[in-house]
């Protein structure tokens, strides 16, 4: 995709590509702790059903995945495996950090064995706060990511020019002009 690298893709074509990319995301489930169950509820249960959003949670290997959901506590022993997995994913790749543990260490902020946030190892696109976040919050994070992909400059993404991370927040409180409230359990 030399054309994409140099950013010379015509706008209509970019829009078309982005539309396709955003609604055929293969998600690799990196389930680590409690959040993995809520991720399972979001991806595998008939009530939440992530496939209606055009997200396929069934890649056999990270090499087929576009998106990885890091859900749960990242420990120092696990960190090298996560780094290695991320490097195996093909570009363009996206990361959702699910739950307080993956965001910043969560309740284990003073533990000797927990990595204080997966963003110390790999770049994160969307933070989903909560301990654990409800499945709806994860779905909101995926929708936010899809919207970002739709408006993305593919050239910039391919060149690896990172974009700012986003955080899922409670929509109502922002409309009221208040401080963003964590979508908590």
């Amino acid at each position: 995709m030399g054309l994409v690298d140099r950013g010379r893709l015509p706008k209509p074509l970019t829009t078309l590509f982005n539309l396709g990319r955003s609604h055929s995301m293969w998600v690799y489930q990196w389930g680590l702790a409690c959040c993995a169950i809520e991720m399972g509820a979001a991806f595998g249960s008939p009530r939440y059903d992530v496939m209606r959003l055009g997200v396929i949670p069934l890649p056999a290997s990270p090499r087929q995945a576009d998106l990885v959901v890091i859900s749960g506590t990242v420990t120092d022993k696990m960190a090298p495996a996560i780094k290695r997995l991320y490097e195996q994913m093909p570009e363009p790749k996206y990361v959702i950090s699910m739950g307080s543990c993956a965001n910043c260490g969560g309740p284990y902020w003073d533990s000797y064995s927990v990595t204080k946030g997966v963003d110390q190892i790999i770049p994160v696109d969307v933070y989903v706060p909560g301990c654990p976040p409800r499945p709806e919050a994860l779905l909101e994070g995926i929708v936010m990511l899809q919207q970002r992909i739709k408006n993305e400059d593919m050239g910039a993404r391919w060149r690896g020019e990172g974009t700012k991370p986003m955080t899922v927040v409670d929509g109502e409180s922002i409309e009221k002009g208040g401080v963003p409230v964590v979508v908590n359990n």
Partner: protein
Amino acid sequence: MTMIGDRQQLAYIAAQAADARVNVELETEGMTLNIGPQHPATHGTLRIIARLDGEQVIWAEPSAGYMHRGYEKLTEVRTYPQVTALINRIDWLGSFANEVPFILAAEKLMGVEAPPRAQHIRTILFELSRIANVSLFLGDLGVQMGAVTPVFFAFRDREYVLNLIEAATGGRFHPNFDRIGGLKDDLPAGFIDETRTVMKKLRNFCDEIEGLLFGNEIFQSRTRGIGVIPKDVALQYGLSGANLRASGVDWDLRRDQTIPMAWDKVDWKVWTHPDGDSFARCWVRLQEVRESTKIVDQLLDTIPSGPVMAKVPKIIKVPEGEAWVSTENPLGEMGYYVVSQGDQGPFRVKIRSASFNNISIVPWALKGVYVPDIITILASLYFILGDIDR
């Protein structure tokens, strides 16, 4: 019972002896198979290193620690109410059950006892979290053996139970609802009727799973006679919970010990199975969900009135001393040894979690089995990584 276990080992030795002649000519090399640390069959991040000879496992060892979060150290720098929020997350599928033994140990040190209504509600929530835990196991079991449908049933019906827990406590599966001396709140309006309806749904779910999965010929041939753990071996390795009962040991802490909970006020049965194979372990768990729904139904009829909180000071200081309390959690015996020196937080807490002891049998149970049976045995032993590594 011993015969079956010996037979498994003997069959392996015989197979090896038969292969030895061929091996001299063909020179088969051993292979090391690494399962995990991230594998759907490991319920999280357990890593198993298995050395294979062809299709047979000759040596296997679990490598734990990928989910070690340092609970025992963290409890030393938390106050008692804060510790409850932390230990919720040890066995993340049955959270409320984790709080109870710790709170009981602290109450024992303080000489406080929760009012009867609080004891009843505690037992109800304890059994609800057991149902939420084991129903997911029953669904997940199918996935690990190649049947995807049961997991949809499990997630559908588990949501009803989670809704109940959420209605009562405010949290879907980390309630943090238990307090020293009772409970944070009383039950919400309409909880009792709603719970009765849900228990009916759960009994239907058990029947569905029994028909879909346990009656399935493929499931039976993959689990019957696989991973047999005889009675004496199970006891030697310190198994507890359904894994022990499936080996024919009639042992249930809910019945066998006297603690201030309401199990002795209802009529229920401890299920055991003489076989000790993977099928027995799954079957015992299925029966336990049914018993739990019965326990909840009976407790709902007999909830006493009164307060849900005993008189305890606002700032909790637990007097000096040591206490051990364990309960029969969804995964097995879970206990806390709390050492207090009169401060607001514990001086030291030793956590005995069921899964850590349950997977200690993995090297023994995997010896001589075929590769597809590794997954079956791991699935039927049913561990949760937070419960192993803590």
